[in-house]
Amino acid sequence: MTAVAAADLDHGALLQQCAAGDRRALQALYQAEAPRMKAVARRMLRRDEIAEDAVQDAFVRIWHKASQYDPERGSALGWIYTVQRSVALNLLRGSRHEDLVEPADFDAIQERRQEIHTAEEVWGRLDASGRLRTCLGGLEPARRKVVLLAYAYGLSHGEIAGRLARPLGTVKAWLRRSLESLRECMK
């Protein structure tokens, strides 16, 4: 198979071919998107081999659910990444319990500081003229952070409260209002 630049790939057509049982279409999607999907999974799951697992699981799901993709509703990439995120969140939720308490060891503290720090970087690397960047920019930094910690790192309400040393109720309220503002802003 010849490599196709991701930008030239018609993801929607490939999903339709997957739905029709064409395994080569799935392979083309894999070649084009799996490396970036793994980056997303690794950001959330942290461990490389678990991220690899998550990507393979996602492609199995993409294969079985490809017929559910409806181009009228949204982009093929949006659908594909929703599947990948769902698999990763599933693994994440299955492998831990809520930790509201302080991190136990130094490495864990460092890792969490890193997450909080990189949440801003995630925002910073978005297209400066894009609506997401602009609308996130309209939120107070602390409220922007809770959204990014949830979306980018898959942290639960409780985990975010623990990381930011804020009451759970506050974090829930921030998230609810921040998501509302984003919906409004991005209309």
Partner: protein, 237 residues
């Protein structure tokens, strides 16, 4: 449900604020509720740029063949998660505990099927397969026996082996007056290849079992400790 409620739920699903049960419920409803599916698509589009701005990372060399193997395993049973878990176990048995609960939740029949599928993928094909079950009938491990006296052990659960103990794998060749023969010791949870002594070719109905023995193996050369699992060999159809 109002459009605002749908949007709120869609956001919570897409951002990842739901627990597993809630998320599964949403995924189930999506198929029959176009408005919900549309709200989720819209929410996904809002945040997609965060994921698309990630820098791609290197995949494992065998990544695509891993996808193919999982698909083959799933095809036998309509994508049953237990099959996927068993297939993953076959391929990468030492990693992660996330499959374990899934595998343990499965029924014996599914696992036998999963195991059989697993074998069909491996080369060369084993002569016989035995699914070892515990006293409650729960599958504990799968043995694949090859013509050259080699056996492969695929643990299906994380055996709790007390300190100072080891797991020992046995077979009772299906010939008259045979005694149990040790095939080897297992000291960690992984897919293992054991080379047994020179034995008759594995046969239908041949007993395999795993016992807990003192470190270094049974002092008598025969199984003495508690049985972790036992099962009879069956040929592949």
């Amino acid at each position: 449900m109002s459009a605002t409620d749908l949007d709120r739920i869609a956001d919570e699903y897409v951002v990842g604020l739901m627990d597993d049960d809630e998320a599964r419920e949403i995924e189930r409803r999506m198929a029959g509720e176009p408005a919900l599916a549309a709200a989720i698509s819209a929410a996904a589009e809002r945040f997609l740029e965060i994921d698309l701005s990630e820098t791609p990372v290197a995949l494992a060399a065998e990544g695509w063949s891993g996808v193919e193997a999982r698909l083959r395993a799933a095809e036998g049973a309509g994508g049953d998660p237990i099959l996927l878990a068993a297939e993953r176990l076959r391929r990468r048995p030492t990693v992660a505990s996330h499959w374990r609960t899934v595998a343990q939740a499965g029924m014996a029949a599914c696992l036998v099927l999963a195991a059989a599928l697993g074998w069909q993928l491996s080369q060369p094909a084993p002569e016989m397969i035995a699914v070892l079950v515990d006293s409650a009938g729960e599958p504990q491990a799968v043995i694949e026996a090859f013509a050259d006296d080699r056996v492969t052990v695929l643990p299906l659960v994380d055996f709790a082996v007390p300190d100072g103990s080891t797991l020992q794998v046995w077979t009772l060749p299906a010939v008259a007056d045979a005694k149990p023969v040790s095939l080897g010791l297992i000291d960690h949870i992984a897919r293992l290849n054991l080379r047994g002594p020179d034995l008759p070719a594995p046969a239908q109905g041949q007993l395999y079992e795993i016992t807990i023995e003192q470190a270094g193996g049974s002092p008598t050369g025969l199984p003495t400790g508690p049985i972790v699992g036992k099962g009879f060999a069956k040929g592949i159809i």
